[in-house]
Amino acid sequence: MSGTILALENVTVRFGGLAAVEAVSFHVEPQTVHGLIGPNGAGKTTAFNLISGLGHQSDGHIRFDGERIDDWPSWRRAQRGLGRTFQNIRMFGEMTALENVLAGMHAHVGGGLGAALLRLQSFRAAERAAILKAREILAFVGLADPSARAGNLPYGDQRRLEIARALASDPKLMLLDEPAAGMNPSETSGLIELLLRLKARGVTLLLVEHDMHFIMHLCDRITVLNFGRKIAEGTPLEVRSDPKVIEAYLGTKVAERLEAGARVR
Amino acid sequence: MLKKLTALAALPLAASIWSAAALAQSKEPVTIGAIEILTGPNNKYGIAIKNGFDLALDSVNKNGGVLGGRPLAIAYEDSAGNKDQAINAARQLIGRSKVPLILGPTLSNEMFAAGPVANERKIPIVGTSTTANGITAIGPYVFRTSLPEADVVPVTLKTAQQKLGIKKVAVMYGNDDAFTKSGYDVMKGALEKLGIETLTTETFGSKDTDFSAQLTKIKSLNPDAIVVSALVEAGSGILLGKKALGFPEKVRVIGGNGLNAPKVMEIAGDAANGTLVGTPWFVGKSDPASEKFVDAYKAKYNMEPDQFAAQAYDTLFIVAKAINDAGAAEPEKIKDALGKVKYTGVMGPFSFTANRDPAETSGVVVIEMHDGKFRQFN
């Protein structure tokens, strides 16, 4: 056991002639919260997509739980214990909250076509067990009404439900893409509390987030990307005082302001 | 004042017509069924047929109807050219309207579907436009008054052979359509029988518009004529394509029943000149009964009748006669009477063979397209 759950080794991806991620290497220790930060366009979501199998790197390798997963499609990675949430929530809006979580258990609930058609005793037992567990997960993330239609839930609850759904697949590593985006401060502190409880449950977290307070409060280790390259790595304290990071963020503050101005226009 | 006078003068005439009609209408009508394509892409056939029926029906009822004064009526069902709808129509005419006889359906395809239904219930069904092989083989209750291609095409080819000295031909047919395919089968047999050499056989789709590849190949083989089994659309396209490729003028197109339509000349223009087709009837036929029919048809519908209307027109008289001969509106009796009926109409003398196909082929004429009109060739 190497002691790492996820390792990126010199991962590069190019779109057309442009490298969105270039020779990035970092690894995530089990049972930690690892942050991936950087200014807009730094390649964070691209990196997430590579890790979860929604895109494929042009170069380099990704190891997950000791295995090279470069050629694995996303569902296989998910089946092996890689869960994720999305920057813009991707809910199954027509389904109830409970069904969303049950869908999350897909890889673990038993029962093939035959069992479902024959309604075997074992099938019904498995379904019952799954429903119990799903209710427990919903309670864990703090959602009260399992039969609410997911699409009708308020924004913050949808975030929680998406986490519950990812949690239901019993992941060894969970990728959270800007989980606090669009939340008000009280929702954010609730989320921090939830994520800490997750960590306590033994789930390793890798998260992308813009909210610095959030990151510094939660993360054990942080990797900083800028323009597709890794520019720093370390504990929150180390990263915060790294001149390269400060420069990157200062530079982009200006850029961000410019961009915001363009949007208004 | 003047108006009143003319109205008065017209009265006795109107009364005499009305009295016969009133007599006929006082009794319960005899209703027979008809399944034709009244809507959809092929409704031009169904509507011509319906016109022919209706014109004949007027005449039958003006002359006292059937079975001693009962008016004859037709319950129309639309098949829209769809075989499932044809089956539905046949079932409803038989089961619900309880008709003793069905006219139609329009297409051979529809007859293959609806014919077995009528046959199973022992209701005679009389096709007026179904020319494919094997129609009457469906069963003893299936009749047709239309000359099958098998009777017409050999006459056309033989005439062409005798008058034009045709020895070798190229054959083209639409292979995705039941009508044109069965026309081709007949052509193939007739060509073999007549000892005409077939240089090549080319196929096309009924919706094709481009025939240049096939025609180029045919041109390189130098045939005396091109024998074509196609519907109007593709047939016209072939004639236009032939002209564009600059075929020698003496290379004629000899068509099956599908090309027997004025529409071909309308679409292909002078590219259609010289095309030969055989037909059981055509509008320029010099025959008093036929001319009278054409005049009446023009007066009622303001257009020229085609062979489908003529066949339908004759068929209704044949059926009316069979009902009278049967003495009752009962399917079994009508069926037996149909087998024995003898009638001379606009298409010439008519009777059924033992296999319920038309017995007489003497009415077949070969006609030639010339500057937008058909003219007699033989």
Partner: protein, 282 residues
């Protein structure tokens, strides 16, 4: 049987049969739509089933159960062949490829002596009846309800709502896609076999593009929230033109309008009820 009932059944026999057969076809469309894919090859699969079954009955004289099995197996094989390359791609490719399949099959039927070319096959004995047609429909409906209320049903709905998210939960997307297409082809093939064995005559042009679109309109009118939706769509679209005669002329206009309205304004169809996805109470 009293005479009036006999006459009634005779008059409306093919209509009643087509309710059952169209029901199976609508369900075959439902399986594919239920995972967010679109197949325009349902008429082609139906044609394959019809021809396979008719040939086995006419030329081989095989017993009817064997005929039905074969009528499901052959379209299933075609679905595998067409699905394998296209299901790796975005949904549009499957839709286009299945249109292509329809054309290829039509050309094959038209050009083959065995299938009677454009003349089709006639004289097919009437072997299917009310029991087997509606029995199959009922069985298929029950099976769909049972499957809906299981992890398979949840995965299917998840795929329809968001394929990427479903994949991130470990749903094996290609396997689900190909399985749905194969099941769909089998159902359509079965419907085709019934169609051939109640109408005595089949020809290549019965299974064209218009038929495929009509099948789609069944499913979209009824809605795909539950397997009952498409069947409701069938009942309406099969009976309405019979009840409202004037509608006959505009049948296709109507079908087209239904698809447009369903996609734009009523994504849930006429039967908005959505089937639950849990297989037990707890």
């Amino acid at each position: 049987m009293p005479a009036f009932l006999d006459d009634f059944l005779f008059s409306y026999q093919s209509l009643i049969y087509s309710l059952g057969i169209n029901g199976l076809l609508a369900l075959s469309m439902y399986v594919v739509l239920a995972i967010g894919q679109l197949s325009l090859g349902q008429a082609a699969f139906m044609g394959l089933g019809a021809y396979t079954s008719a040939l086995l009955t006419l030329k081989v004289g095989a017993p009817f159960p064997i005929v039905l099995l074969a009528a499901m197996a052959v379209p299933a094989l075609a679905a595998l062949i067409i699905g394998a390359p296209t299901l790796r791609l975005s949904g549009v490719y499957l839709a286009l490829a299945t249109i292509g399949l329809g054309e290829v099959l039509r050309i094959a039927f038209v050009n083959s002596e065995l299938t009677g070319g454009a003349l089709g096959l006639s004289g097919i004995p009437e072997k299917a009846g009310y029991t087997i047609i509606f029995g199959s429909l009922a069985l298929a409906l029950i099976a769909f309800v049972l499957v809906s209320r299981s992890r398979i049903g949840r995965a299917m709905e998840a795929m329809r709502e968001d394929e990427v998210a479903a994949g991130m939960l470990g749903v094996d997307l290609p396997r689900y896609r190909i399985s749905a297409l194969v099941v769909s082809a089998m159902l359509a093939g079965l419907a085709g076999a019934f169609n051939a064995h109640v109408s005595s005559f089949i020809s290549p042009n019965d299974y064209g593009f218009d038929a495929a679109v009509t099948i789609l309109s069944f499913a979209l009118l009824g809605g795909i929230g539950s397997p009952f939706g498409p069947v409701v769509g069938v009942v309406i679209l099969t009976l309405l033109p019979e009840v409202l005669r004037p509608l006959h002329d505009f049948r296709l206009v109507f079908n087209g309008l239904i698809i447009v309205i369903a996609v734009l304004f009523m994504p849930h169809g006429l039967l908005p009820w959505r089937i639950g996805r849990t297989g037990a109470r707890a």
